[in-house]
Symmetry: C2
Subunit: 355 residues, 2 copies
């Protein structure tokens, strides 16, 4: 049973930024959704209010013990002016999985769906118009109790904020250069790498910065135990096309269960392209390359959808994938998913959700 979502009207609307100025996550729309939790009351007071600063005690637990989870999804504008969400229920379910791991009270899925729906509908004009642009939706939960003991917070705030974002690619999909990180690790089974909690991202910054300083765009993360098996690339999942077959690391408790990852797998199955989820050693990838069998490599994620990989550097070895050009299958996946997201292609999977 849904709670009513209260609305507070804004007295002033912001000017919308030009498409060229957008970038990612810099601008925010006029409204936000908020809902509060206290142990005695549960989740309560869902509201859509003007976008405004949060006022928190300096001892609010999120600042000290990092109980925070989030999601990221996008609303797309179709050519005939409709607003489409891409698999929003997947994000909502994953948010609850993140809550469970991080000892945060879970949310009512229908209410969150309703909140996102109502907020995006209200802010439809904030979905930008340019090719490749979208309205990024960021649901998140933070621990708000003013208390310094180490235990789960007794109060939380759930929020949804919206940010118009520019095209990830300007022009064609340029393959990225990847640095294989073999000192720092992102996550380990038994930890929290399989959920979207804030600390995972903080933990990744140093290696990402090191890679950039060495002239690479992204880091390839290896497993924390043996530093042999492939986990993720940057904050994306990764796929390899070897000899006509596609493989991606199996979810093992330290890899994020990406929604684009899941969509790629479903799409490949639909196309009868062989696809397997399995433990993949980096050595096997380098061997496949040496044998001439490594055809394509790409990352998958909400921001880029598909990000082709052109180069992999591991210690002193470096390999170039597909002559540093986007692969045919990579492009086909990118093209199909983005067309479905924009309502330009059939949606046999019922992935899109009209606002």
């Amino acid at each position: 049973m849904n709670q009513m979502i209260e609305r507070v009207k804004t007295s002033s609307q912001k000017e919308k930024p030009s498409v060229d100025a957008l970038g990612f996550g810099k601008y925010f729309s006029d409204y936000m959704f908020t809902m509060d939790y206290e142990t005695e009351k549960g989740w309560h007071s869902p509201k859509i209010t003007p976008y405004e600063p949060l006022v928190l005690d300096p001892s609010a637990m999120v600042f000290h013990y990092g109980q925070a989870v989030f999601e990221g999804l996008k609303a797309y504008r179709t050519d005939d002016g409709k607003a489409l969400l891409f698999r929003p229920l997947k994000n909502i379910k994953r948010l609850n999985l993140s809550c469970e791991r991080m000892s945060i009270p879970t949310l009512d899925e229908d209410l969150v769906m309703d909140a996102i729906h109502q907020l995006v509908e209200l802010e439809k004009d904030w979905i930008p118009n340019g090719e490749g642009t979208s309205l990024y939706i960021r649901p998140f939960i933070i621990a708000t109790e003013p208390y310094l003991g180490v235990r789960p917070s007794h109060s939380y705030k759930f929020m949804v904020i919206l940010s118009p974002v520019g095209a990830y690619y300007s022009g064609q999909l340029n393959p990225v250069k990847i640095y294989v990180e073999d000192y720092y690790v992102r996550a380990v089974p038994g930890g929290v790498g399989h959920v979207k909690t804030s600390g995972n991202y903080a933990a990744s910054l140093k290696a990402q910065n090191n890679a950039e300083e060495l002239g690479f765009e992204q880091v390839l993360w290896l497993d924390a135990k043996e530093k042999k098996y492939i986990e993720e690339v940057g904050s994306m999942n990764i796929f390899f096309k070897i000899n006509g077959e596609v493989i991606t690391p199996k979810l093992n408790g330290s890899i994020l269960s990406g929604i684009t990852r899941d969509s790629v797998i479903e799409l490949l199955k639909h196309w009868d392209v062989p696809v397997r989820e399995e433990r993949i050693s980096l050595e096997d990838i380098f061997k496949a390359h040496a044998n001439g069998d490594l055809e394509e490599v790409f990352g998958s994620g909400t921001a880029a959808v598909i990000s082709p990989v052109g180069e992999l550097k591991w210690g002193n070895e470096s390999i170039t994938v597909n002559d540093n050009k986007i692969g045919q299958l990579s492009f086909q996946i990118y093209d199909t998913i983005t067309k479905i997201q924009l309502g330009r292609a059939d949606d046999p999977f019922n992935w899109t959700f009209e606002v």
Copy 2:
């Protein structure tokens, strides 16, 4: 060269809670220290101001990507009314180590020392009077930039807040029951477990809660790779006395370098008690117990100083340490460190710092 610390006077002072009501981290004093960072300006505007809420954009990076580090130390009131800090420079240096790992700009050590000194001096009346009480000092840094891209923030806030805290022990030091966690892990080498960043604590909550539900007070963390070697207990370091020798896990990149841990080691050396830092398997501890060689087990940390361990449960096996009573050496360490902290014993190590 120190920057001047500006002061803003409060217009109203809070009533101080009674000693019995204190608990841990529930009450905060009248003033706080703040300092801001922007990429172009560096750390600037150090101030002591009235304790007041923080106002942050909902997109402030700390809420999303968890760039946050902290420290914890205490100010003690001596019998003749002086205020003593315990090894504050150690905390400040560790804060900077945490900053480096988490891609946060480091702080000027002298300025932080000055900030803590001035703040505690101003709030001296907030150091409670009761036996075992103290004024807990919480320095912390959070990422404040309103931006959703995953990269280090371009702005931060450093704060120091003060909380009067009650005695950890009411009466004698009761040994705790420990549950050996063999599914969830706290940290792994290459990760961030050796520094005080918020995400480590969020990641520990679920296992801690499970242990409490099973009737245990704390979790013993094992190494993430083999689940064989001992790391920490709860948020404390751990020591074992076996056959007259004391051993504690060697710092390996996933264990926090505790300041109480360091003090215990120095003290034991001073007393000519054999003490070693080495990799310790849980199996060896259980064997030592079976042989009758396991004499004492205790945790060390700022909150409790020393926390004796009375029981260890690992899967279906359970061992009782020293008849579930505090060991003689454990007590002697506790007694000596707390007396030094309170100015009741000589301080041959120059650990205390008078405010």
